[in-house]
């Protein structure tokens, strides 16, 4: 691993981020990345955060048109309420703050505590829970679906709407609509090594893959002998479509888990597009790259979001963050 010691990986990364991005305010001690121009008058603030190890999520999405602030937790561990409260207070212009929360027990509990504390400080807070992973059976017998790739869609589209000066209820409602219109499925070709443990978190021999993985190195639901890129695309896209059942155009995120080369990822995207064509699903936009990662895991995920005209317009709106930037 390219680290000094496991204890300082998060702080080290934040220091590096500060050096590379003078347009962001990085509080290394407080584990906070904030837009330099926050709070922006008349705009709802968007705050997210989560465990580290998913870079560029979330800090890489801070900037005009997307997040106002991101809180970094320890590797794969939710941040603590104090961080979220400080983030909320730093970005609140008086228009309120939307917390974008991935559905994991730790994130949900810490953001819930933070929302209460921030409201005590006079900040109006709304929350959107992202839970798009179809590999998890959503029932009262589980913690519910995990939040994965759809987080990027929610942060981009809600961030663009907030940038237009929409009120908190509308930004929150649109964020929820994006989540409800999105589904994901992920596959691992190798296990992940956390700095704290120093060895793979589960044993995945070469020649096998794990279907339905999350983004924390937790094993998936099923193990199979290695499949081709085309077979993985068939399995993943069908799993997503059978749950989403879109009746209009989608945005596709073909996401690398961290250690899969872009050469393979673009090849995989060709297969994903083939399956979508076969299933007669029109693709409005496609994004290929490493955006919601799991440290050094090899593998990929597919996220589809069915979009209406407004969502597509907001997706296309300019964005200027370390990891996502387009438009003027």
């Amino acid at each position: 691993m390219l680290i000094n010691v496991p204890e300082t990986v998060v702080a080290d990364a934040l220091r590096g981020m500060a050096a590379a991005h003078p347009e962001l305010t990085v509080d290394v001690e407080g584990r906070l990345v904030v837009r330099r121009d926050a709070p922006v008058a008349g705009q709802v603030g968007l705050v997210s955060g989560g465990g580290s190890g998913h870079e560029p999520l979330h800090a890489g999405f801070v900037g005009p048109g997307m997040l106002s602030a991101a809180c970094a937790g320890e590797v794969f561990t939710s941040p603590v309420p104090d961080q979220m409260v400080r983030a909320a207070m730093a970005v609140d212009s008086g228009a309120g703050v939307l917390f974008v929360v991935k559905n994991y027990t730790g994130d949900v509990l810490n953001f819930a505590m933070a929302a209460e504390l921030a409201e005590d400080e006079g900040v109006q807070v709304a929350q959107v829970l992202v839970d798009d992973d179809v590999a998890v059976v959503d029932s009262s017998f589980t913690a519910g679906r995990r939040g994965t790739g759809a987080t990027l869609f929610v942060e981009k589209i809600a961030g663009a709407l907030a940038g237009e000066g929409a009120p908190l209820e509308r930004v929150a409602a649109t964020a929820r609509r994006v989540n409800e219109s999105s589904r994901s499925f992920g596959v691992a070709l190798s296990a992940v090594t956390t700095p704290a443990k120093g060895s793979p978190t589960f044993d995945l021999p070469p020649g096998e893959l794990e279907l339905g993985i999350g983004i924390h190195g937790e094993p998936g639901r099923e193990r199979r002998p290695m499949m081709t890129s085309g077979e993985i695309a068939d399995f993943s896209v069908n799993a997503v479509l059978d749950d989403l059942r879109p009746d209009g155009p989608v945005i596709a995120l073909v996401n690398g888990m961290g250690a899969t080369p872009l050469l393979e990822l673009y090849g995989f995207n060709a297969e994903v597009q083939r399956v979508l064509t076969e299933r007669r699903v029109p693709v409005a936009r496609t994004l290929v790259g490493n955006y919601v990662t799991s440290l050094d895991m090899a593998g990929c995920s597919v996220t589809l979001c069915q979009v209406d005209e407004e969502m597509l317009r907001l997706w296309d709106a300019p964005v200027r963050t370390p990891a996502l930037r387009w438009g003027r």
Binding site: G51, G73, E74, S78, V80, T105, L109, V136, V137, H216
Partner: protein
């Protein structure tokens, strides 16, 4: 009677146990979770002992409330709010008495465990820390040793369970056959009561 020194020793003994067992907790967590339970709790309880060593609150209730707040502020994940709530609510239930009886501790601990169940939405048998805490809270009225035995038995019994809460629940059937890391660390916390009591020959029996 249990004074704030006893509760300070309890927290210190827990920190020592968590530090000693951190590798094992992380190992258990890597089988059905995300391989960080040991390191997260070690960081949290080290912060608890640091703040208590600096300035020890004079009442058991205030001491546990401070320890709980410190866990919430430093651990993150689910275990921060859950363990933090356990200690805060136990502390709150103890009120502001300078000394409490083991019976009062047992009752307050029961209130703390109930608050954990409410916050996390879990029940007995869901393969969580509650599977150690609930039987421990029941047995704590008897003695510290009985609570320790109940917690350790509860943690062991999670091996056969299928997880219904937290990250292990994503595994479905594949979570069966592994001991729950949260129940295991909860048993360490309960076991540390006997060590805190042993320092002055208090076994927690009687009231």
């Amino acid at each position: 009677m249990l004074d704030s020194d006893f509760f300070h020793r309890w927290m210190t003994a827990t920190a020592v146990a968590v530090d000693r067992e951190a590798g094992r907790l992380t190992e258990l967590d890597s089988a059905i979770g995300d391989a960080d339970h040991g390191s997260n709790l070690r960081r949290g309880f080290a912060a608890v002992t640091a703040v208590l060593d600096e300035d020890t609150p004079q009442t058991p209730g205030a001491l546990l409330a401070l320890a709980g707040r410190q866990l919430i502020a430093t651990v993150g994940g689910a275990s921060g709010p859950l363990y933090g709530t356990l200690l805060r609510r136990t502390g709150k239930a103890l009120g502001d008495a300078a000394e409490v009886t083991p019976g009062q501790l047992a009752e307050a601990f029961g209130a703390g465990v109930a608050a954990v169940g409410k916050l996390g939405g879990a029940q007995a048998g869901d393969k969580t820390m509650l599977d150690a805490l609930l039987p421990a809270a029941q047995a704590l009225g008897e003695s510290f040793a009985a609570a320790r035995e109940a917690a350790e038995a509860g943690a062991l019994a999670t091996v056969a369970l299928r997880a219904r809460k937290g990250r292990a629940s994503y595994l479905g059937e594949r979570s069966i056959g592994h001991q729950d890391p949260g129940a295991t660390s909860a048993a360490l916390l309960v076991a540390a009561l006997t060590e805190a009591g042993a320092a002055r020959g208090d076994d927690g029996s009687g009231s």
